[in-house]
């Protein structure tokens, strides 16, 4: 019984441990931030695979850089039917141009909005960038209301390792970037840490 209680306490403590424990605030390196911040995204078509609570949806995702500096993100199935069409305006506003009723729910839209804001690097285009170090990584973060958007680099600022949305203690979303970098990332792997959802995007060249 004691052993069980001890194990439960250990598990509880492990769960309470902050994902951002050990971050050391340092002076921002403007040159590195300017060089590596994912603030540009070139228009591209992606094969999209979404896994959410054991369900799998695939389709094609268009991320289009519009002439007025806004972005449109359109998700269709392979046969061409549009599931959603979102607009991220240059002034920070967000517009749902189209969404099928199964997706047109506040929680779903807000989740997808934040996911794509991170992928597009929108939080890094405004606000003060702060810098922390931990082990062999450097965290650049822009603090928003309750969360911080991070882009994380190697110590020598040679490469962009990943993007994250984090609350004060908990990592919420990670975007891994295997393959070629911004502004035309070949592969993006987004994972939610607070519920079971993943989005994998692989860029393809249209005919």
């Amino acid at each position: 019984m004691r052993c069980l209680l001890f194990s439960a306490c250990c598990l509880l403590l492990m769960r309470c441990a902050s994902d951002y424990k050990g971050l050391q605030a340092t002076t921002p390196d403007a040159a590195c931030a300017a060089k590596i911040a994912p603030t540009q995204f070139n228009t591209g078509w992606y094969n999209a695979n979404v896994d959410v609570y054991g369900r799998h949806i695939s389709g094609l995702l268009l991320i289009k850089n519009m002439p007025d500096s806004s972005f449109r993100v359109v998700f269709t199935n392979e046969a061409g039917v549009t599931f959603f069409d979102f607009g991220f305006l240059a002034n920070g506003e967000f517009k749902v141009h189209n969404a099928i009723h199964q997706l047109n729910k506040k929680a779903v839209i807000q989740t997808l909005r934040k996911d794509f804001e991170l992928i597009l690097g929108l939080p890094f285009r405004k606000g003060t960038v702060q810098r922390w170090t931990k082990d062999d990584e450097v965290f650049y973060g822009v603090v928003q209301k309750k969360e911080t958007a991070y882009f994380i680099t190697s110590k020598d600022c040679a490469s962009l390792r990943r993007l994250e949305w984090g609350a004060a203690r908990k990592r919420k979303v990670t975007v891994l970037l295997p393959g070629s970098p911004y502004p035309s990332p070949e592969v993006l792997e987004l994972k939610h840490h607070t519920f079971n959802m993943q989005i994998k995007l692989a860029r393809f060249t249209k005919e």
Binding site: N49, S58, V74, E78, E207
Partner: protein
């Protein structure tokens, strides 16, 4: 009284002219098929002679507001009575096999087997696909259909009835060859103004297709 009659005639003339202009503007070069019952009978008769179809296809999805078009190509197989295999080859690979109430969807990441009966939307989409190819779409309760023709083609404009289909399609327009009543293209028009056109080419009718092509 005479003035009233003139006015009614005038309104009637304007209305009929407008309707005729609208039909012409919608489908240039096509006129309405007057004997719909005869067409329906002939369409069903000719289509029933087709036991299998093998064809290439080109799909063009146009995002009107974004001035973006994506073209994909692949192969299509149909085996009466309810087996369809659609294989996208370029620029992405994607396979969809429908066999009765079962469906297989496969891409380079995952393979999904779906019981169409458990999902009303899948059931409807499955039914539309089969009905289009089998020539029974005119009997479908999911659409109201208008039929137009020119010297080589019939044009079937199908408007969804149910709310669930209306969300996805404003109209589906089928072009059917007069020579063999085979479907030449399917145009799916979405309420947003976007559209997807699937055009079939190198069609082979009634050629043998192994059952294994539709294995799930």
């Amino acid at each position: 009284m005479a003035d009233k009659l003139k006015l009614i005639c005038g309104v009637f003339f304007v209305l009929t002219t407008m309707l005729s202009v609208t039909a012409k503007a919608q489908y240039a070069g096509y006129k309405s098929v007057t004997d719909l019952a005869a067409f329906k009978k002939q369409f069903a008769t000719e289509s029933s002679k087709v036991s299998s179809i093998t064809s290439n296809f080109t799909q063009e999805k146009t995002l009107t507001a974004l001035t973006e078009t994506i073209t994909s190509t692949g192969k299509f197989w149909f085996l009466r009575s309810n087996r369809v295999r659609i294989e996208y080859v370029k620029p992405f690979s994607y396979l969809m096999v429908m066999n009765g109430d079962k469906m297989l969807v496969k891409n380079d990441q995952k393979e999904n087997r779906i019981n169409v009966k458990s999902n009303k939307l899948f059931q409807q989409v499955n039914r539309i696909m089969i009905d289009c190819v089998q020539g029974t779409i005119l009997d479908s309760k999911d659409f109201t259909t208008k039929v137009f023709e020119n010297d080589k083609l019939y044009l079937l404009e199908m408007t969804p009835v149910s709310k669930s289909l209306k969300e996805f399609f404003q109209t589906i327009v089928l072009l059917v060859e007069k020579k063999d009543y085979a479907v030449k293209s399917i145009e799916m028009n979405e309420p947003s103004g976007d559209k997807t056109t699937i055009s079939f080419s190198d069609k082979k009718l009634n050629a043998p297709i192994p059952d294994a092509m539709f294995a799930l």
